[in-house]
């Protein structure tokens, strides 16, 4: 049998699964469109303006401008992660969609690759909807902030891959709550999102850089919205690149192991 690290064979047919998910998304666009819009508005007013009044500025950056890229990165993470955990699990287990699709010329590798691309696309959609709100609040600078859109795809793919690994091994839909609360929630709080990593003890700083993908995505998005290239730019890009390839390959192999018997 092939190893968990072997590179899966994916064909361009993966795009058909992506297209299927897009069709469903468009059919229900009303329920999909408003949450990111409202989320951006709520974060900026409650944390940015509310808490920001007491915080003032961080390293010379107004607090609301400091958290603006984090709001984008968190939304990208959540869209991709929840799409490829609960969303994919429902399609796989309850709707039996994957079983139906692999009876056509598509392989299971194509199906999962399509799901991962769709997860990354959900991240892009969220960030694209939120960005105009941030522009209206005048907390991000143009045109460099537009880079957050390709970054959302890149980071979205990382989280989609990570999510799909959990989906491939979870025994039931309920056990998907564990990664949600034990990984995603701490990551949302301790990745340099609402306060700089530098105020944490050094050990925790290294830990956040070593294990939290969000740390790197927030860092890159902040460079785009300020805009200001940081010293970690190459580390951030390299870390995300390696993690994305790693998670995506493993998740596809785990899924094949789960579904092809």
């Amino acid at each position: 049998m092939s190893s968990i690290l072997s590179v899966p064979r994916i064909s361009r047919r993966a795009g058909k699964v992506w297209r299927r998910n897009l069709d469903v998304f468009i059919k229900t666009w009303k329920v999909n469109f408003f949450p990111p819009l409202i989320e951006a508005f709520l974060y900026l007013s409650a944390i940015g303006l509310g808490i920001g009044t007491y915080v003032g500025a961080i390293d010379g950056v107004p607090y609301i401008n400091f958290i603006a890229p984090a709001v984008l990165a968190i939304s990208a993470m959540n869209s991709a992660f929840f799409e490829c955990t609960y969303g994919s699990y429902v399609r796989m287990y309850y709707q039996k969609s994957f079983d139906a699709i692999i009876a056509t010329p598509l392989s299971i590798e194509d199906v999962i690759a399509g799901e991962l691309l769709w997860g990354a696309t959900r991240a892009v959609i969220s960030v694209t909807i939120m960005l105009p709100v941030l522009v209206v609040f005048k907390v991000v600078s143009l045109p460099f902030s537009l880079l957050t859109i390709p970054l959302a795809f890149f980071g979205g793919l990382t989280f989609a891959g990570l999510a799909m690994c959990f989906t491939a091994i979870t025994p039931t839909i309920d056990t998907l709550n564990y990664p949600s609360f034990l990984l995603i929630t701490p990551m949302m709080l301790f990745s340099g999102t609402f306060f700089p990593l530098t105020i944490l003890p050094v050990l925790f700083q290294y830990l956040a850089l070593a294990i939290f993908p969000l740390t790197h995505l927030v860092s890159l998005m902040r460079m785009a919205t300020l805009p200001a290239a940081g010293s970690l730019i190459f580390l951030n890009i390299a870390w995300l690149l390696v993690a994305t390839v790693f998670f995506c390959i493993i998740s596809i192999n785990l899924m094949r192991r789960r579904l092809i018997v």
Binding site: K16, R19, D23, Q95, D99, A100, A103, T104, P105, I260
Partner: protein, 302 residues
């Protein structure tokens, strides 16, 4: 001439259990070939290997002359599958299900529209084209799945329990459609629990149990070879048992009934009527069900 499907020494094991064990068969173009057997006999596993979604453990398997392990996409492009479990896409309407499936087969949009039109008429669902899946009855869902399996004009149709849970009207409609497809030159492989369905539809069939074939042949030949032509049924009372034992007639007692298999039912029935009083006697022709129960036993399966 090599068949549409050629299997030799085909085996599938899951961990320690052997689901399919060294089976050999060949399905010819244009025939309806049936797999019968109790639950867990290995029918679905065999179907899944043919449809390239479950890799075989050993042996050879060729579909259209190609190996499912090497050319799955090419094979799957030419087959249509009706799975045992209803797996229509609840996110789409009746028509949406067919159109989405057409895309998986690379069928251009305008051609797909045309085929959807014809297929909806073929399974009598034209009026339900805009209906969402959860509003369809069980019979409508099965018909839609049949239409979905035909979207790519398959050369080979694989049906796993196609009429499970359907009312007689819906079953007859599906049978009629399958015969029509055969008359157009399609090859059909199906599994079923319904022995009347197998007897009506199949040109050839195999009865499977514990992963191996017990018998293979046409439905009529199987009944002729495996059991005698008529079955006499009588009440299961001590008098009848005693009477049959006295006459030396072999019988099988099944709950309320005693069954006697015979080739000359009329003479034997007359004798029994004379000799064994106080019992109703009825005779009927032997069916595939008698063959099935004789070969696989009456013990309930998981």
């Amino acid at each position: 001439m090599p068949g549409i499907i050629e299997a030799d020494d085909l085996t599938k094991t899951y961990n320690d259990t052997t689901a399919v064990s060294h089976i050999r068969f060949s399905v010819q173009k244009g025939e309806i070939f049936g797999f019968l057997g109790p639950n867990g006999a290995g029918k679905t596993t065999t179907m899944r290997m043919i449809q390239c979604v479950s890799p075989r453990t050993s042996g050879t398997l060729r579909v259209f002359g190609m190996d499912p392990a090497i050319n799955p996409a090419e094979i799957k492009q030419r087959i249509g599958v009706v799975p045992q479990e209803t797996n229509l896409d609840p996110d789409f309407t009746t028509e949406g299900n067919l159109l989405t499936f057409a895309r998986y087969f690379d069928i251009p949009e305008t051609e797909a529209q045309k085929r959807v039109e014809n297929l909806l008429a073929f399974v009598s669902l034209t009026e339900k084209r805009k209906t969402s899946i959860d509003k369809l009855s069980g019979g409508m869902k099965r018909r839609l799945i049949l239409a979905r399996a035909l979207i790519n004009n398959p050369d080979l149709l694989i049906l796993d329990e196609p009429t499970i849970g359907l009312d007689p009207q819906a079953r007859h409609l599906i049978w009629e459609r399958l015969r029509l497809l055969r008359s157009q030159g399609n090859t059909i492989v199906l599994t079923t629990h319904y022995l009347d369905e197998a007897a009506r539809l199949c040109d050839r069939l195999v009865i499977m149990d514990h992963g191996t074939f017990l018998v293979e042949g046409t439905p009529a030949a199987l009944v002729r070879d495996q059991v005698v032509s008529e079955i006499i049924e009588m009440d299961n009372t001590p008098e009848v048992i005693a009477c049959l034992s006295d006459l030396g007639v072999p019988f099988e007692s099944l709950g309320e009934q005693v069954q006697v298999a015979t080739d000359s039912s009329r003479e034997l029935a007359k004798t029994l009527l004379d000799r064994c009083k106080n019992s109703r006697i009825s005779t009927r022709p032997a069916t595939l069900e008698d063959v099935f129960l004789k070969l696989t036993g009456r013990t309930l399966r998981e």
